[in-house]
Amino acid sequence: MVLDQLYQQTILEHNRNPRNYGKLAGATHAARGHDALCGDDILVELIVENGCILEAAFSGEACAVTKASASMLTEWLTGREASDIAAWSDQFHALLKDCTLPDTPELADLNQLRAVSRFPARVRNALLPWTTTLRALQKP
């Protein structure tokens, strides 16, 4: 059923064992992402040097979709150019809105979150780690 596409093994596994979960010592950038309506409240922390994201982590309380999205995103961010993230975020958002688009290979596992396009009320959860990361990058 459709539900199994959202709560597929990869997403459930990231929810149970989130990567990069916890506080990041020596973070250069951080932002809090709070979705009061759902109760999601996460902190995204980054270490950025010479425009390159060396490490990314998140902490806080959130639903499975937000947690899996944050877990995958923080893995994916490592080694990326900070200046590219806004464009990637737009691309990810486009994938969530339009299920007829093909996957974007560079986004790797993050493509699996596209199942939320069938759950309009949950798109905000998949996006929260991205919008939080963008805000962290805006303010050192």
Binding site: M1, V2, L3, L6, Y7, L12, N15, R16, A36, L37, C38, G39, D40, D41, E61, A62, C63, A64, V65, F119, A121, R122, N125
Partner: protein, 415 residues
């Protein structure tokens, strides 16, 4: 309405009553709908849908304007609904019933017309810790603009108002107490009559947010002893976008108009205008006529079915649900007041309310998840969000079983 009384002990015949709610026969994600989000909004019976439909088909016209037949009929139906709301609340006079967009607008009306003109820096407004945002934010805005202070009446761990603490919080600067009759987030039924008696000794007016109370119990504003009572039609089987404010006539009489426009005036000239009489003084512009007619139909429907019978049925559902939910491992009920309406807020270990809501929706079960527009009460209990089931007259024990099965499936999936 004989068809909803079963032969046994004058109880509701719920299965036959359900036939009056068209939406209850639909499926959601291939499963029969189990609608347990009644505290957010109830479903509408045919009596309400048809009353509104009839207005638009047969006598749609503006009210209090024309001499033509349609306008006369529309005005009569509109005013008959006001009389129905007066009966619902056992108010003294129809002059005390002001139609609003809902509870929120009714509270904003009191904030802006009753309090604002006389509020001074340092004056105090009291509300409880369990209020809906609609009974917090209008006062906060007012306080910011006038220098008045919003003070919070405490609640205990069971989610009950600590009435003993209230008296010491009342001072000569207290200008109003705002209290929710039945909490949408916790289910708590507040001791409104006791609070009003206490306030009266200190000559402090009390506004009651009755949004969650009117569908579940017989409300008598005179017995409660309050000064303002706000309600929303859509919580009590009526349409959205319409509600009412009841206020004591002498208070409403002394209050200036809130919004200006047509209907609320007696005479207008560029030298100045005079105001229409109560309640029209507070009803500027063409009102939500179909909505008011729907509200009147909902009141009539509640009277026919019998609020006492509904309350008895819902109390049994609440008892059964609470008993079964307390047996669920890792489930915590948020709000365990001795006197509760048919609402159960809860958390489930290891399952975020958001995920729970999505998963059980796919089993056809509609529940609310989130902060329930009562973030301070979530903060009090130290939870970011809860899941909530809330019952209405048409819910069945079997639906609670479906909900509990879906709950187990969600847990299996996520943990």
């Amino acid at each position: 309405m004989e068809i909803v009384k079963s032969g046994v002990r004058d109880q509701l015949d719920v299965l036959r009553l359900r036939e009056q709610f068209p939406v209850l026969s639909r499926e959601v994600h291939g499963k029969p709908l189990v609608y347990l989000d009644n505290a957010a909004t109830a479903q509408r019976p045919l009596a309400v849908i048809e009353a509104m439909d009839r207005f638009y088909r047969e006598y749609n016209a503006n009210v209090h304007r024309g001499v033509h037949q349609l306008s006369v009929e529309a005005s009569e139906a509109f005013e008959a609904s006001r009389e129905a709301v007066r009966r619902l609340l056992n108010a003294n006079s129809e002059r005390e019933i002001v139609f609003t967009r809902g509870t929120t607008e009714a509270i904003n009306l009191v904030a802006n017309s009753f309090l604002r003109p006389n509020l001074r820096p340092g004056d105090e407004i009291l509300v409880s810790h369990m209020e809906h945002h609609s009974n917090i934010v209008p006062w906060q805005i007012l306080c910011e603009q006038t220098g008045a202070v919003l003070k919070v009446m405490p609640i205990n761990q069971r989610g009950e108002l600590m009435l003993d603490e209230v008296e010491s919080m009342i001072s000569e600067r207290t200008r109003l107490i705002g209290i929710v009759h039945v909490s949408n987030a916790l289910g708590t039924v507040n001791p409104v009559a006791e609070l009003c008696a206490l306030a009266k000794r200190h000559e402090v007016p009390v506004l009651v947010d009755g949004a969650q109370a009117t569908p579940h119990e017989k409300v008598d504003v005179q017995a409660l002893g309050c000064d303002f009572y706000a309600l929303s039609a859509h919580k009590m089987y009526g349409p959205t976008g319409i509600g009412a404010l009841w206020g004591r006539e002498e208070l409403l009489e002394a209050m200036p108009p809130w919004q200006g426009g047509g209907e609320m005036i007696s005479r207008v000239s560029f030298e100045g205008s005079t105001w229409n009489e109560l309640p029209h003084k507070f009803e500027a512009g063409t009102p939500n006529i179909a909505g008011a007619i729907g509200l009147g139909a909902a009141v009539k429907w509640l009277e026919d079915v019998g609020v006492a019978r509904i309350a008895e049925h819902e109390a049994k559902l609440l008892e059964y649900a609470t008993e079964r939910m307390l047996e669920v491992d890792g489930l915590t009920i948020i709000g365990q007041a001795a006197n509760k309406g048919p609402v159960v807020s809860f958390t489930l270990d290891g399952v975020h309310p958001n995920d729970l809501g999505t998963i059980i929706d796919h089993h056809g079960v509609a529940i609310r998840t989130g902060h329930h527009c009562a973030m301070p009460v979530m903060q009090f209990f130290g939870v970011p969000a809860t899941a909530r089931v809330s019952f209405a007259c048409y819910n069945l024990r079997a639906e609670i079983d479906v909900f509990l099965d879906a709950l187990e499936k969600a847990r299996t999936m996520l943990t």
